[in-house]
Symmetry: C2
Subunit: 391 residues, 2 copies
């Protein structure tokens, strides 16, 4: 019982965390509950004629399968499902009629051949990267519907009725899901992508703002304040953000005009900005290692480069934060320009410093991070700037 209790507590804690991380999840769960209840009640009372009967089940199935977290994903799945069912239905009815003409014996052979060909070809299509990204679900539904309709045993007219019935119930289910998803507190994948890209840039900015001070404090007195170092870890989530960004962009492409975004918003631009942000994050990952390095830089060297490095790092951080803000508010990132200029000046100073001074017999390894951050970041900030202006 002790173990069981621990597990229950653990479970409750996870549930709380999942809910707190994104309260929209709770709303989403309630929305799914609502959509399922309404379509189930429709199934239960079944106001339509008896012939519609069991097909209503397809509506229930469609709701649960189509309903996704974001509007874009739901719309994409709904449209995929609707269009694929329609096309496969037409093809299926055609093949069914054709097979009927060949008579009793030829029919199963012809049908089997068609099913094999269509299933194999469409499955192969699903491996095409571009098609997979947007129509994977539709292709699956296409195979399914085609098989069910073409192989069914009904007579020609019944097949048409059957196909039509199924299409209409599926459309009903899918539209229930889409409408519930859009009307009640919609979650737009586009908004999420927008915020993700901006937040990622902001995280890098936060790191850089703090890095200069932290680095020289750590290697200066060999000790740093404990606590509130979370900002130094924040950038880590940026490293693996590629998958999330790509799927959000795919969903966002399905979404209609909403809020500040039009239907054909340049979503791919976000992917470009995201990729540059990741490039920058890789460099920061390399730099951050020096925070806990064993090798200590002699103080006299430190004090020489400290000013330029701290300035560079904090100005870059400020510039990135301004860029993030500019993306969030969708304005031109003119406020970032002076910071970029400042950081460029600081990096020039540092380079001159390194050139003109005769370094004494010191371990060069210690100067590396500061110098690296300089040359790397200026480039990245400049290129991010270019992209941000395009938003």
């Amino acid at each position: 019982p002790e173990k069981l209790r621990a597990k229950v507590v653990e479970f409750a804690r996870t549930a709380k965390k999942v809910g707190q991380d994104d309260p929209r999840r709770i709303i989403h769960a309630l929305k799914v509950g609502l959509a399922m209840t309404s379509v189930s009640m429709f199934y239960y009372f079944n106001p339509l004629e008896d012939g519609f009967g069991d097909s209503t089940m397809w509506a229930v199935l469609s709701v649960i399968v189509v309903f996704e977290f974001s509007v874009g994903a739901t719309l994409g799945k709904g449209l995929n499902r609707g269009i694929a069912t329609f096309l496969a239905g037409c093809l299926g009815v055609g093949v069914h009629c054709l097979a009927t003409l060949t008579g009793e014996r030829g029919q199963p052979i012809l049908l089997g051949l068609f099913v094999f060909l269509i299933a194999a070809m469409v499955t192969f299509l699903r491996f095409f990267p571009r098609i997979k990204a947007r129509f994977d679900y539709g292709l699956m539904i296409f195979i399914l519907t085609f098989c069910l309709i073409s192989v069914s045993k009904y007579e020609d007219e019944e097949v048409l009725d059957n196909a039509f019935e199924r299409l209409s119930t599926i459309l009903m289910g899918a539209s229930t899901a889409v409408i519930t998803c859009i009307i009640i507190w919609p979650v737009w994948a586009g908004d999420d992508l927008h915020n993700l890209v901006a937040t990622n840039i902001e995280k890098l900015g936060t790191f850089l703002e703090g890095f200069g001070g932290e680095y020289f404090r750590v290697s200066g007195d060999g000790q740093s304040q404990e606590g509130d170092k979370a900002f130094l870890q924040g950038y880590r989530s940026v490293l693996n953000s590629k998958g999330t960004e790509e799927s959000l962009a795919n969903f966002a492409k399905w979404e209609p005009h909403h809020g500040r975004f039009t239907f054909r918003h340049p979503w791919n631009q976000y992917l470009t900005v995201g990729a540059l942000t990741r490039q920058c994050a890789y460099k920061i990952e390399a730099i951050s290692r020096y925070l806990n390095s064993d090798i200590k830089t002699p103080p006299e060297i430190q004090s020489k480069i400290e000013e330029a490095c701290t300035k560079m790092s904090s100005e870059c951080g400020k510039a990135l934060k301004e860029l993030a803000l500019a993306i969030k508010t969708m304005t031109l990132p003119s406020l970032a320009d002076p910071h970029i200029a400042n950081s460029k000046i600081a990096s020039k100073n540092l380079k001159a410093l390194l050139k003109t001074q005769l370094w004494e017999d010191n371990d060069l390894l210690e100067m590396i991070p500061a110098a690296t951050v300089a040359s790397l970041l200026i480039d990245v900030v400049a290129s991010t700037d270019k992209i941000a202006e395009a938003v």
Copy 2:
């Protein structure tokens, strides 16, 4: 017509590329075709009694939905589907009986309430990261089956029959998919994961082996041979391998004993190795930037550090390649040890070189990459070594 022709050619080229990249895709498509045909023919001839009738459709549906590229994914989906249908069926029948007891009026209210609660709660469960990774599909099927069974209009006994019928056809469909997937040229997610991790390490090794020579040639005579530089780009795919590795590991956990892998193979170990590999790749990403740097190092400096750096880089590369080979053949990576030792010696030499020599008035920035690669890589190689030994 010109445009259309260009599109057709483009399409054919993509198809060829998709097939060539991984010929197993073609086999997979044929396998799906085969499974669909056999289950469709079953549906068509329907050897069982009439009562089974329309339920056979569930078999067709299960095949296409459950059949995935790798055995692990197919097994996972099949088991999820089977178990979820069974549990939801039991619960659904129970709730249905309960609702019948409450009489005409109470029934729809009670049913609606249950559907809402179950759908909302289970949907929320799907957000739990651990549950999502392995049971996402099962939870969806759970909601679906529960709604369909509990809300159905049949009398108590009919409901039981209905539920049983559906369960058996679904099991039939799912097992058709699983059996076809395992018997005919199976694609094991575990093998893929194993190869992916080993290949990634190998890619880093190839880069490092080539890097030393390439770097000093480029910055030496300002020119490098064109062509066969692909090895310098190969490491890039490692940067974003996290998602693929994680999903393969999830699939692999479903797979039974096969080839050199047992059922409870330590798949998580691969994720650890993969994460370390990615850490190393981030550093290489930072280093590789210096290959095309504008800043030129004076030749006299270059010649001083060239030997140590080249040695270090190539020995690290060799060590990583040995590690990759050791993972592939599943042996202890003892052949990598001397290379690691060599690279450590080389890095010590370089450090000493940097310490003892009084550097003239030169731009320090140019020495950075070589020195960085030294200190960074030794650590990474050592830690990879530790993990590789555990395989």
